[in-house]
Structure formats: structure tokens, C-alpha cells
């Protein structure tokens, strides 16, 4: 009697946990009236190192971190914004200085930075991004790759002026 009960419980628990993960990913879309600012994600600032240098490429490259930066409310693209990026890659742990770098958004508010391949660490293949330059409120993101074989990952910022 107890055995099917136990199995069902663990299956339900697993399913619930998976749904919960999906839920966190669905929190991003903006509300209809004015573009809402992107909230920082849980764990986004973990292993952050302030003042990562602006670089052409982090390490040997081969993987692309991409995204956009826009202003809350009207959604205007924000050029020249400094975005810091770090992750556990084939070339180092999140905490290692060589795993960190920064780039600037172009005229369209888009950024692209080549970096080493992100590999799963602490259970998920994920990256970290920060906006921390002071003109807008600080935001830390922690996007998760759909597959650890992906060679690109995107993250989008909607920033709120301070």
C-alpha cells in the first residue's frame, strides 16, 4: 500500500519543482501599461566582482552572450551602457577574475560579448550579468541556458532611472 503512495509523492514533488522552475522564467514579460523595469533575479549577484574591465572578448571565446538594454516606461534603447558578464566556463570558475568582463551597448541598445563556453555549475548552465553604473537602478540577471550545448545566451535589461 505504501509503495505506490511514496512513488506518487516523489513524482508529484518532482513535477511541482519543475513547474516552479518554469514559473521563474515566465516572470520576465513586461506589463502592458509602460515597460516595467527588469527586477534582479535571485542569485544574480553571486560571485560578482565590481569593476570588471571592458574587453573585446573574455578569454578564448566561442560562446556569445547577447542582449538588449532599454529604458523603463517608453522602452527607448539605451546606447553606451556598460554591462558586466561572468560565468563558470571552460576557462574558469565564476569567482576567477579571468571569467569576468564588460561590454557597452551599441546605438540600438544591443550588446554582444564573446566569451568561453558556459558549462553547468551548481546544477545549471547559467550566466550572470550586471548593470551597475549608477545612472539607472542596479540590476543583476542570472539567465539559464535551455541546453548546456547552446553556444549563445541572451539577457534583456529594462532599466529604471534613479
Amino acid at each position: 500500500m505504501t509503495h505506490p503512495h511514496l512513488s506518487r509523492r516523489s513524482v508529484m514533488a518532482l513535477g511541482g519543482a519543475v513547474l516552479a522552475t518554469g514559473g521563474t522564467g515566465l516572470l520576465l514579460p513586461a506589463r502592458a501599461a509602460g515597460l516595467a523595469p527588469t527586477p534582479s533575479m535571485r542569485g544574480g549577484s553571486n560571485n560578482y566582482r565590481p569593476g570588471a574591465p571592458i574587453v573585446d572578448r573574455i578569454g578564448g571565446g566561442g560562446f556569445w552572450m547577447t542582449g538588449t538594454v532599454r529604458r523603463a516606461g517608453d522602452g527607448a534603447p539605451l546606447p553606451g551602457q556598460r554591462i558586466q558578464i561572468w560565468a563558470h566556463t571552460t576557462e574558469g570558475h565564476e569567482r576567477d577574475p579571468q571569467s569576468h568582463g564588460a561590454t557597452l551597448t551599441d546605438a540600438n541598445g544591443e550588446f554582444r560579448l564573446e566569451m568561453p563556453q558556459i558549462v553547468p555549475a551548481f546544477g545549471q548552465p547559467h550566466g550572470h550579468l550586471a548593470y551597475d553604473s549608477g545612472d539607472f537602478e542596479t540590476v543583476f540577471l542570472r539567465p539559464v541556458m535551455a541546453s548546456s550545448k547552446d553556444q549563445t545566451l541572451a539577457a534583456h535589461f529594462v532599466l529604471k532611472p534613479v
Binding site: T2, S10, T21, R42, G43, N46, N47, H93, V119, P120
Partner: protein, 194 residues
């Protein structure tokens, strides 16, 4: 024969994990933490079988002694697992322990850890607690069940060094071993023996 199976249950997932490509990009302390976790899953298969005196060739007393020592090993392995992860990335472990981690498997793992430590504490203080045996046993097995379910969900949700087939098999065995012992001992029956 049964001991060959027991050895395989412990060793095969460890060997499979040793071939993980992720190891190439990890520091030794992180690798050690991961393997302590893999070993813990294997020990979770063994513990219910020892508690149920299900392994042939062991007297009930030997079975209980083994249960005790495997329990001690399990607690040490859990502490190495958490400490190794802490050294590798302190903020991620702090988030997990405070239940604010972005990864749902962290909470399952932390719940399993506390349940395991509580079950071990009940084991150590069984005499001094002076609980009626069946009440003590239900408490201990209840915590052990939380440990096993928590650990299985924790492991299955993680993309890590464990190879997926051996991980799934190990988790299934842990659940089956626990269910078998719970049913065989009828742990929910806490009436006094007439």
C-alpha cells in the same frame, strides 16, 4: 552475490561520474564535493536495507552496526558535500541554506540534509531520549524518508557530473529500498505489541 550487487550500487555511479566531461573544468575541491554527493546517494540505498536486516550474511547485530557506521559515513559525506560547495562558491551555498536560491533543487537538498542530521541525532540519542521504541522508530524512519525523497528530487533536478542512467537507477533503488523496509517493518504501526 548480494555483496557484489551492493558494491556495484556504490561503485558504478561513482565510476560513471568519473567520466563526466564537466570534471575537466572544475577544481579538485568542487569535484570532491560532487563525489561526496554521489557517494551519499549510494549510501541512501544501503541504509534502509541494513535497517531492515535485508542483506544476507549479516546477523541482526552486525546489520545494526553497519547501519550505524554507514550513517556516520553519510553524515560526513554530506558535510564534505556542503563544505566543498561552500569553498567553491560561498554565495550559492548561503542562498541554498537560507532557502533563497534560484535553483529549486537546492531547497530539496537542504531539507534532505537537515532531515538526515536529525535522523542521525535521533539515532545517537535513542537510549537517552527514552521514547517508546515504535515511536522512536517512526520518527527516525519519517526523517529518513524525507532525506531520501529530498535527495532523489535534489539529484534528479541537477545537471551535474552524475551520468543520467546511473543517477536514475540509483534514485529508483533508494526509493524502492526505503519503501521495502517501511512496509516490511510496518513502521506506521506504533501500537504496543500485545
Amino acid at each position: 552475490m548480494i555483496w557484489a550487487v551492493v558494491t556495484a550500487v556504490l561503485a558504478v555511479p561513482l565510476v560513471a561520474a568519473a567520466f563526466s566531461p564537466l570534471l575537466a573544468w572544475r577544481d579538485p575541491i568542487y569535484i570532491l564535493a560532487g563525489f561526496a554527493g554521489v557517494l551519499s546517494m549510494g549510501l541512501l540505498v544501503l541504509q534502509p536495507l541494513l535497517a531492515g536486516r535485508d542483506l544476507p550474511g549479516l546477523t541482526p547485530l552486525e546489520s545494526r552496526h553497519w547501519h550505524r557506521w554507514v550513517g556516520v559515513t553519510l553524515v560526513i559525506a554530506i558535510l564534505i558535500h556542503v563544505a566543498g560547495l561552500w569553498v567553491t562558491s560561498p554565495p550559492d551555498v548561503v542562498d541554498a541554506l537560507l532557502f533563497v536560491s534560484p535553483t529549486p533543487f537546492s531547497a530539496w537538498g537542504v531539507v534532505a540534509m537537515w532531515a538526515a542530521l536529525a535522523a542521525a541525532t535521533l539515532g545517537i540519542y535513542r537510549q537517552r531520549l527514552a521514547l517508546r521504541f515504535r515511536v522512536w522508530r517512526l520518527s527516525h524512519t519519517g526523517l529518513a524518508t524525507v532525506t531520501i525523497i529530498g535527495s532523489v528530487v535534489h539529484a534528479m533536478l541537477i545537471e551535474g557530473t552524475m551520468e543520467i542512467m546511473t543517477k536514475t537507477a540509483l534514485c529508483a533503488l533508494a526509493v524502492l529500498a526505503a519503501a521495502r523496509t517501511l512496509i516490511r517493518l510496518r513502521v506506521w504501526d506504533i501500537r504496543r505489541r500485545s
